[in-house]
């Protein structure tokens, strides 16, 4: 055993460069997997943190509805039932304010709470570890981003307009962009003493909202349900602070590109290791022969060789852990800084994450090495000893048929599987991605032969005989096959990841794409208020929308949000509502408002097996009303599950005030300023679409930035693979150059031919890479299709740039054989077989 171990260690030591390349490929791929998983988790954690915002550990929020005249109603802690399900509660008073310095106007959301109570759920984090003690009177705490921007220091006076009155505050402390100052949209939160804001707004001890922390063992859902049943729904809104499922699914969606990176990098590593072991076993044939001739069985020989790959796997896996931590830390730091809100992203690494990436490192190393090792171990001893081993060639016809069938299956399978079959569709997608790559690897030598035939004629005309020979040299050239394979995998990875990344970026960051509205306001709004908005200068169309959140259930399921409108045509255009057909859209336009009709989301219809024409019973506080489904819709701009006519939301459910309005205007910003003024100090959330998109895009782009950085790792892995290929094939290449030179090829001709071969490899790799990535993107969108609404726009520029990069990589890769070829000792190369 000791001798065997010594033999293996010597093997590893002797081939330093190859050992480095193999280790690098394992380390890079398991690092990418590690980082991808951790980024997904960290992203989810950051999203949760942002979604929670000022709520801290509180998960349920209770607020009072406005009164009939549209005035704010304050809610007192005493109104909340005393129940064992509540661990803690904090009353918050909130109000909008405006900060003005020169020509700059900044929206500020004021938050006021009892400091001790606030500390119990979400202790403000002040800069330099400072603590807030005497927080009374005209004190204010502002986040660092704001104070830095306007050069405000502790003790300075800050003037804010609340309602229409100006108030002066003294900066008590500067806070980090965290805890109560954290927000998921643009703008700034400022913390005031509760009594101060209470007296300004005259709340008489009441609060805008009460944030509640559930007791241990009580879920958010349970607490919400308990409070909803004991608090009058006409008077109170009981809502979750944030939707965990939504955040998790959002994070999952954004992590997709990272997992794609892992998939491609693992495939490439497997190919690099497989290729290396093919050469390693070939080189070791004499040793294998010796082992076998002195009595080692096939199994024993396999084990000895596999042991070496195990060492690579373990070493690679272990090395990847500190590297992954370093890279993750760098990425998350960079990410935090690049986010416009400056959030600190927590690094979330689970033990499972570490275990999984190490296991994958070992598995990839051993499985990739297994096939060539097993083949070598099974060779007849006589053939090995006599050196008469010949590679078994599977006929091109068999390979072509197998490859073509696998390719076609991979293309067809996700297209024929039921789009609503969930896991089956995902499984078909996974098979398709792997199948497309495997099939292409199998077909590549034949594709190269075909390309070579065509290019021989073309190059002959353009580059003369050297061109003809360069193209001819590609034919049945294993070296070229391997380089092209590595290139196409890396290019298809880079293209697919870039396209998916851009798509996710625009999908998540531009939910209002195609929607007609230019701005919206969310608040409790009376009919009179909406009429005032309609008369705002510069406004074109106004669509007020009734909203019922978590209040209506129907035949066995809850509708998270039901909206109601008068003008469904305007609703359709404002929020870019999609129907299955023009016919359905026309039916909705003509008959929606006349009866108790309902539009349901397509997702909802599918999930609950409903069809157009069915009747659903909407239950509300013990009363039931039957509505007929007249359409199924999809919209990225709208979050509702159902839409009903406004007349019935009033008559059936007694809703008086609107929850949202959308508008169109030539100058949305000017209109928005007027609408904000109309709201005064009433709680509202108003945004122009441009503002909203800027917020969303900056968040999403920042999160996707690390993904773009990771794609460079894919290219690095490809470069490692191509260098590895150059190394393991250089002897063959040198000999071939020497053969040419011995019959009269000059260095100049060698440079021309090698560059042309490199260019051809790059060209073929780029064409195949572009085609395969196109097919893969097709598969990915088929699998993601049921969940998304928009058809991705493929940017030809990405394809072309990646293709060009591939050609450049192979041209650069040609430099080594060119340099070595020009300096080679011709006699030495041709003399020895």
């Amino acid at each position: 055993m000791k001798i065997i171990l010594k033999y293996i260690v010597n093997n590893i030591k002797e081939r330093k460069l190859r050992t480095i390349v193999m280790l690098l490929s394992i380390v890079l791929s398991s690092t990418l997997l590690f980082v991808s998983m951790a980024i997904g988790d960290s992203y989810e954690s950051a999203q949760q943190k942002m979604a929670k915002g000022s709520a801290g550990t509180a998960t349920v929020e209770v607020s009072a509805k406005q009164d009939a005249t549209g005035n704010t109603v304050w809610v007192s802690e005493d109104e909340i039932p005393q129940t064992a399900s509540i661990k803690n509660m904090v009353g918050f008073i909130t109000a909008p304010a405006l900060y003005n310095k020169g020509s700059y106007y900044e929206n500020i959301d004021l938050i006021a709470a009892n400091l001790n109570e606030l500390n119990s759920i979400n202790k403000p984090r002040l800069l330099n570890g400072a603590t807030l003690t005497d927080f009374t009177g005209s004190s204010i705490v502002l986040p660092e981003k704001f104070t830095t921007k306007y050069g405000i220091k502790p003790g300075d006076t800050v003037t804010l307009t609340i309602g229409e009155t100006k108030y002066q505050f003294s900066l008590a402390a500067i806070a980090a962009y965290d805890t109560v100052f954290l927000r998921s949209t643009r703008g700034v939160n400022a913390l005031l003493p509760k009594d101060t804001l209470s007296s300004i707004l005259n709340t008489s001890g009441g609060n805008s909202k009460i944030l509640i922390v559930p007791s241990g063992g009580i879920s958010t859902e349970e607490l919400k349900s308990e409070l909803s049943s004991s608090l009058l729904s006409e008077k109170y809104n009981v809502t979750k602070v944030y939707n965990e499922t939504q955040v998790a699914s959002d994070a999952k969606q954004k992590s997709l590109p990272f997992y794609l990176i892992s998939f491609f990098s693992l495939t490439m590593s497997a190919f690099i290791i497989f290729g290396s072991y093919k050469v390693i076993t070939l080189e070791r044939l004499p040793v294998i022969g010796t082992f076998r001739s002195i009595g080692a069985s096939e199994k024993m020989t396999t084990r000895i060789l596999l042991f070496e790959s195990l060492i690579y796997g373990i070493a690679g896996g272990l090395l990847s852990i500190p590297l992954s931590y370093g890279i993750l830390k760098l990425i998350l730091n960079g990410l935090g800084e690049s986010l416009s809100m400056g959030i600190e992203i927590p690094m979330v690494v689970s033990p499972l994450n570490i275990l999984l990436s190490c296991t994958v490192a070992v598995s990839v190393s051993m499985l990739s090495a297994y096939l060539p090792i097993r083949r070598a171990s099974r060779l007849p001893v006589k053939d090995i000893v006599l050196g008469t081993v010949e590679e078994k060639n599977i006929s091109n016809k068999t390979k072509l048929i197998f490859g073509a069938v696998l390719f076609i299956l991979s293309v067809i399978l996700p297209r024929v599987v039921n789009k609503n079959s969930g896991n089956l569709l995902t499984l078909a997608g996974g098979f398709s991605l792997l199948g497309l790559i495997t099939a292409t690897i199998i077909i590549i030598p034949m594709l190269i032969n075909l390309f070579s035939y065509v290019l021989e004629q073309v190059y002959g005309l353009i580059f003369g005989n050297e061109g003809r020979l360069a193209a001819r040299n590609m034919k049945q050239n294993k070296n070229a096959s391997q380089n092209i394979t590595l290139l196409f995998i890396s290019l298809s990875a880079v293209i697919a990841i870039s396209v998916i990344g851009n798509f996710v970026s625009s999908y998540v960051g531009d939910v209002f794409h195609g929607a007609g509205l230019n701005g919206f306001a969310q608040a409790d709004m009376s009919e009179e208020f909406v009429n005032e908005v309609k008369s705002v200068q510069g406004i074109d169309n106004v669509l007020p929308i009734y909203q019922l959140t978590n209040e209506i259930s129907t035949d066995g399921f809850d509708l998270n949000q039901v909206e109601a409108v008068d003008n469904v045509s305007l609703y359709n255009s404002m929020l870019n509502i999609h129907y299955d057909s023009e016919q359905v859209k026309n039916d909705v336009d003509t008959s929606f408002a006349n009866e108790r009709n309902i539009l349901l989301t397509k997702d909802c219809m599918t999930k609950h097996n409903l069809t157009i024409g069915d009747t659903v019973s909407l239950a509300y506080h013990g009363k039931t009303f039957n509505y007929r489904i007249i359409g199924a819709f999809q919209s990225r701009a709208d979050n509702s599950d159902a839409v009903i006519p406004a007349a019935y939301v009033k008559s059936d459910f007694g809703v008086q005030n609107y929850g949202m309005l959308t508008y169109t205007a030539a100058d949305p910003d000017a209109v928005m300023v007027q609408i904000r003024n109309l709201f005064g100090n009433k709680t509202n959330w108003c945004r122009t679409i441009e503002e909203f998109n800027q917020d969303a895009m900056s968040t999403v782009s920042s999160f996707l930035e690390p993904m773009r950085k990771l794609t460079y790792f894919i290219l690095l892995l490809a470069a490692v693979g191509i260098i590895n290929n150059l190394l393991i094939n250089y002897i063959q290449r040198k000999r071939s150059i020497a053969m040419y030179k011995s019959v009269g090829m000059s260095n100049r001709q060698n440079v021309k031919m090698t560059l042309l071969e490199g260019f051809t490899s790059g060209l073929i790799g780029a064409v195949i890479g572009m085609f395969v990535s196109y097919m893969e993107i097709g598969t990915i969108f088929i699998v993601a299709g049921p969940k998304i609404l928009v058809t991705p726009e493929l940017d030809a520029g990405i394809f072309m740039m990646a293709g060009l990069a591939g050609i450049i990589i192979t041209l650069l890769g040609s430099v080594v054989p060119i340099l070595k070829g020009s300096r080679m000792k011709l006699v030495e190369e041709i003399k020895f077989e």
Partner: protein, 230 residues
């Protein structure tokens, strides 16, 4: 007796090899003249320097000192471009391990010097057919080297050496990798080429039987010409 013109001439050829810090003198000032049309066999034990001499004469290697004159010009001073042109136009090489390009077929391997010379292969169709007939590979013209026996591969190498109608053919152990029967066939073929087309052949061999096909045998030992028999 008329003196034959000289095909190639080596003057005081010295070749040193440096391995680590040790400099080994492999050729110690060899001078020899090879008249046009001669079939010269160079013999000698392993490490005697016979192959090095052949490669220097053929322009594949450069001497440390001395000169190689072909047509009155010192080819050892040629740059890479000139040497390459000379290799593809004026000489032909036959190697022990054939040195055929594995992914080119017989025709393409034979036409390689023509193609590298920028000529149109179509213009050499007739010549190709003749040469393939001489070496007996007419029916194997579309085969790749791996589909041929050792003897057949060596015939391809001979055909390649002949395609540009060179004045001199260099052969390094042309039968060294072949069985005796095939080796004899190859030697007969070379002899026939020498006799029929008046080509100068310079052959290195360790086989006395093969050497006997030459008009003259030169023995090299310890980097010097030891004996020269006609």
């Amino acid at each position: 007796m008329t003196k034959m013109p000289v095909a190639i001439e080596g003057e005081n050829i010295i070749k040193d090899f440096k391995i680590g810090d040790t400099v080994t003198r492999v050729l110690k000032g060899i001078s020899l003249q090879i008249p046009k049309g001669e079939f010269l066999s160079i013999m000698g034990p392993s490490g005697s320097g016979k192959s090095t001499l052949l490669y220097i004469l053929g322009g594949l290697d450069s001497p440390t000192n001395g000169s190689v004159l072909m047509g009155g010009k010192d080819i050892s001073r040629y740059n890479d471009e000139k040497k390459s042109v000379m290799r593809r136009r004026d000489i032909g090489f036959i190697f022990q391990f054939y040195n055929l390009i594995p992914n080119l077929n017989v025709e393409e391997n034979v036409l390689l010097p023509i193609l590298l010379d920028g000529k149109n292969a179509k213009d050499y169709r007739k010549q190709l057919n003749n040469i393939l007939e001489i070496v007996g590979l007419t029916d194997r013209r579309n085969h790749t080297p791996r589909e041929l026996s050792g003897g057949q591969q060596q015939r391809v190498a001979i055909a390649r050496a002949l395609i540009n109608s060179p004045d001199i053919i260099f052969a390094d152990e042309p039968t060294g990798n072949l069985d005796s029967k095939t080796g004899t066939e190859i030697m007969k073929l070379l002899k026939e080429i020498n006799r029929e087309s008046d080509k100068t052949i310079i052959m290195v061999t360790h086989s006395a039987d093969a050497a006997a096909y030459g008009n003259r045998i030169v023995s090299v030992r310890d980097g010097m010409i030891y004996n020269s028999n006609s």
